[in-house]
Symmetry: C2
Subunit: 343 residues, 2 copies
């Protein structure tokens, strides 16, 4: 009989619900291949209340309830409305966290992750904010309480980036990286290359749910800078906050720039990069002209990619195509398998 | 005090010697970061005899001796000339195997790996032949003897492919893959695109040590077919031998074909692919026209790449740049860290 793992969801938006669906569809294979038997015992949302049910929440019902705009209390048992109160009340082994976060502070996720770790829960987080504002402290806290703090989905959705370095590239040293890590700007640049205006391209990105109503965090390079800071903090073991990443967004790029580049067989891309030089890190986000020989050249639309330069492999590029909530959800599932020690 | 791991090298060509150098250069960090303390106690070569020295072989001397064309016995202690006799005599915890192999049989590596596993050694192999001819049996044997059989370097040198699936993509299902896995043919096609004839391009590939004197294994797609068979066998868990891979090499491609493709903004590449359809595998190696939107388009020279289509990530591409013996050696080092249980 496999061990049962009691789960709590904090955040039940597109990502949380995609994860709930993925866990249902993988239930049989997780039990057969990893001996993992999952029971969701709590779900906390931002706008639909929360539910705690130690005997197990019917997740298909919970998804339906939230998607119909109903409160979770309509399922019969209601939990605390406040996130921290929910975390104190739920007796889970692992927390699946995907709530909206302020990048400048990492809150409220940072406080919730800390509370969950202190209650002895593994924390699987989809957020990069807590990584840049608390990686070392949260990792140390997890160690003290004998649990894991994992966040594969924080950068490049479910593509294995942090786990690649932790598990697949042992004893290698990361010297520098260069990548395309923001989907909104890459989609806008792709659309502009196809002749749309910036305004049309942005409207399209908003219409398909990639760009937010206020797109400035993406356009000005803030989202990308937070990702650079998270990668440097974890993979280069050098704590770096986003404000220390030199940053220029795509707001200075016109249709003329993009068409002139295309004419020369090149493309403007918002490039995220960092280089370690004698104990010092140079980190930046800026538009760069990419030529057709670069693996980043073919990264179009919402796809993303990163090239690692290491002391043991001259370079290695990971490209992730067509991400979405299900991709982010998969990164969290992979972390859950790791946290369960089932690998 | 970290545990000591006693190592034996079987094969001491470019890859074996690069690995010996890498182990020396990583000695301090392996001990500090992974608690691994390594001692090489035996080296067996094809043409320079062997040495067994339980108190430790001076590896810089061993490298120098072989590179000067001297027999290892000139270092003072000589071991058995026969590989199997060497494996019976050496009391190692792990074998680092990189000997020349017949792809059609996997021998003599297959027999050596089996012998080493049965003596309770972990086996780290750089060869794909034993994978396609003995993966399930060797893996089961390793399990019986409480050791590991690992072969990250068998496909795409040191790029993490097998470990990616084993450790970084848990609970995912591989539906299909498509890649460029043979360096010689990709280098020849790259050179022909730059205007060289097939003969000039081949001569260049031979001059820089990428192509063999008899290049037919590469040109006719055999090397690529063995790699496809290895990937299907391990990653799709469906044993497949290379003769069941539909195969066409690059011998039918002329300079005209390549220039005509370039004129349309496309490239001919030798594409390795496999797709799982209802319990059945379609596997092939053939030249295909690749357009500029494909991540395989920018893979030039000796670089290689593979795109995975999975049930959890729409697609993920791994591209490895500028491989060489050091890259292959790194894949073996990564496997050694795994075998030591140090991850």
């Amino acid at each position: 009989m496999p061990d049962e793992l009691r789960l709590a969801f904090l955040g039940f938006g597109n990502v949380g619900r995609a994860l709930a669906r993925l866990l249902e569809s993988k239930r049989t294979s997780l039990e057969a291949n990893y001996g993992m038997c999952l029971r969701v015992i709590g779900v906390a949302t931002g706008r639909h209340g929360s539910i705690i049910r130690p005997e197990g929440v019917n997740m298909l019902q919970a998804i339906e309830t939230v998607e119909e705009g109903q409160p979770l209390s309509s399922l019969g048992t209601s939990g605390p409305a406040d996130s921290l109160a929910f975390l104190q009340a739920v007796e889970a082994d692992a927390l699946l966290e995907s709530i909206p976060v302020n990048y400048q502070t990492g809150q409220p996720a940072l406080g919730c992750i800390e509370a969950a770790l202190k209650r002895g829960m593994h924390v699987i987080s989809a957020n990069k904010g807590p990584v840049v504002h608390g990686y070392q402290r949260l990792t140390e806290l997890a160690r003290q309480y004998g649990v894991r703090y994992l966040f594969e989905s924080a950068v490049m959705d479910g593509a294995p980036i942090f786990s690649l370095w932790r598990e697949a590239l042992p004893a290698g040293e990361l010297k520098s990286f260069r990548g395309i890590l923001n989907s909104t700007t890459n989609l806008i640049l792709t659309q502009m290359e196809q002749g749309r205006s910036y305004e049309q391209a942005l409207a399209h990105a908003q219409a398909i749910g990639v760009a937010e109503t206020d797109p400035s965090g993406d356009i000005l390079g803030w989202d990308a800078a937070v990702k650079v800071a998270a990668l440097v903090t974890v993979l280069m073991n050098m704590p770096l906050t986003p404000d220390r990443v030199a940053r220029r967004g795509i707001d200075g790029l016109s249709l003329d720039h993009i068409q002139a580049a295309a004419h020369e067989g090149k493309r403007w891309k918002l490039i995220c990069s960092a280089e370690r030089t004698a104990g010092h890190i140079e980190a930046r986000v800026q538009p760069e002209l990419i030529d057709a020989a670069d693996p980043l050249y073919t990264v179009m639309g919402t796809s993303s990619a990163i090239t690692f330069v290491t002391d043991v492999l001259p370079w290695l590029t990971i490209t992730e195509g067509d991400p979405g909530p299900m991709t982010t959800a998969y990164g969290m599932l992979a972390d859950l398998v790791r946290a369960a020690g089932a690998l």
